[in-house]
Subunit: 353 residues, 2 copies
């Protein structure tokens, strides 16, 4: 088991005060909506909630518990009196406004990629490396959604087995590209079924009943896209294995909100599916869905709306005759554990007890 | 290059006579329809065409070139006067009727899995192992669609480089489960978009905006499903590499008719993406779609309707620091190269010249 002690207790000056005033930056986005849901669903003990977004969204109202809250325009002065700021409005906004939030006395949990590889910023999946939260200097980064969904099952395995190599192929939902991409998937599919033309606006390729290599910018030198490079770097950092070899192909599939990953894991000694299954059965944040008799394994439709990462199809990799490799298939809600829920779980660890 | 000589010339008694009478068994199915299309599109020189199906479909008419043909009920007497029988009605039908066709003097090209691992039956992808056709004793097997789409690019690579291991994750379209599964994907997606309930009938899990582990029967001992085991066995047989280690995860995605595969290939010595790209650029049946600058790579929407297997995302696998592994992404039309077109290409090789 990993050390999951509440580090906020050890370093109280870095904790967030009990019953904090919380701000959500990017409240009207796909993740923003789920941040409100997760705060409510987990009875997060807050004394005030401020919803911030671009001027375009200001004035909209959103429901939180039994209140109607009005969205305000984000400015550098938005953080007065805020104790905890949850950012989810893209890395440009985070780079521009996170410092103002910290200066105003807030601790920032940032869902963008802006600070994830900054050595001063902890990159945290609470089930994996909650202890890293203690090192924060005002900002804690919420990892890439695929990195979160992969590391939740990888961490308990590498704790008990010596992990040598990861090969991954992803099946990524529209939600990872935001609410507009989810709407484009719906609208383009509807047009396709009616036999009507549809011009993609959000994504670079037709999405209805189609899939394509992830639309993040490509490193033309090495042939990996930005999403793949993020997953590699962040997975290494979260697992504290800076040299772990990871090969990955990130593919956008026509699914609305949960990601899946086909994983092949190589260890330094032979390992059985039973050992892996036993470890994952006890792992925090993992739910085994591995019923061979009923052909029932992780699916986006069942991962959607739940906080656990589903893991199954656990078997010996027939591609490695040495018996040192295991294949498995996982699925997790990109908007919840892959984004909003993980951020709220980080925030919970920050609270003064 | 592989030996692709027309073996029918070498062994004329095993060839099909010029301008044969052709029968299609399972003419009204998803692959049957494409068999008609492929015969027409390739100007296959036939002197007669007989459409056979179950009694349920008998009496239907189907268009071939400028003719309306009436579908007849398949019986053991259906093959009188038939020179070439293309079977695509499931392995039960092939097991029951292929012998009658051979007895009547026809050569059978069978799209089912009935005879694929029978040592007396050649398993053929014409670009890869056309020479094997010469060994037929009346039946030639058309491989599993994933095995075809994978071996078209794998074969030229293993000819020039020593292939040691394959790791694959598939993105398989509805078409692989037949016309009814394609209709279920359409109908369930339409229902989802309208907010209506839909009860799956053809596939075991909800398909609208969802994906799931391939629905083939599971080997409960080793945890691989029948589709994965077919791909492993058939790929080894087609490549004539009986011990090639292959690890594979087969996933059904909500795409209508083209399959994609994320492949990681390990060779016995370091290899560069440029070497692999150069080999695939000249490989028969492969079309490079590998434009990093425009983020344009193989997609089902572009693979659909064309005979080539699209290959791209060719890059060094960052999971193997030795530099001996290459990752790539391929897509091919499951109904064409993965089924009907490959069968017609086999038939062309059989024709007496």
């Amino acid at each position: 088991m990993l050390n999951q002690q509440d580090t906020a207790e050890a370093l109280p000056h870095q904790a967030v005060k009990a019953n904090p005033v919380v701000a959500i930056v990017g409240a009207t986005g796909a993740v923003g909506v789920e941040l409100l849901e997760s705060l409510a669903a987990r009875d997060f003990p807050l004394s005030g909630l401020k919803l911030l977004a671009s001027a375009r969204s200001a004035g909209k109202t959103m429901r939180f518990r039994d209140q109607e809250l009005t969205v305000e325009t984000l400015t550098e002065d938005s953080f007065e009196g805020v104790d905890l700021a949850l950012f989810s409005a893209g890395s440009g906004i985070s780079k521009r406004y996170a410092a103002a939030a910290v200066k105003a006395g807030a601790v920032v949990v940032d869902n963008s990629s802006a600070f994830r590889m900054d050595a001063d910023v902890p990159l945290v999946v609470p089930e994996v490396n909650a202890a890293a939260i203690a090192r924060h200097r005002g900002i804690i980064a919420n990892p890439n959604c695929v990195a979160i969904i992969a590391t939740v099952p990888l961490a308990p395995l590498r704790e008990k087995l010596n992990l040598k190599r990861v090969t991954a192929a992803t099946y990524q939902a529209a939600s990872g590209a935001g609410a507009a991409a989810m709407e484009e998937l719906r609208a383009s599919t509807e047009a396709y079924l009616k036999g009507e033309a549809f011009e993609p606006k959000v994504l670079p390729h037709p999405y209805a009943f189609n899939l394509f290599s992830h639309n993040a910018e490509m490193d033309e030198e090495n042939g990996y896209n930005g999403e793949e490079l993020k997953v590699i770097q962040e997975t290494r950092r979260i697992l504290d294995m800076p040299a772990l070899p990871i090969g990955i192909t990130c593919i956008r599939v026509p699914v609305l909100r949960a990601h899946a990953i086909a994983l092949t894991l190589e260890f330094d000694a032979p390992v059985t599916p039973e050992e892996v299954r036993a470890i994952l059965a006890e792992a925090p944040g993992v739910k085994l869905v591995d019923d061979r008799a009923r052909n029932h394994f992780p699916m986006p439709s069942e991962a959607s709306g739940q906080g656990d990462v589903l893991a199954g199809r656990i078997r010996t990799d027939l591609g490695d005759p040495s018996g040192r490799s295991i294949a498995l298939f996982v699925a997790g809600d990109q908007l919840l554990k892959g984004a909003a829920l993980n951020a709220v779980q980080i925030a919970e660890k920050l609270l003064q007890r």
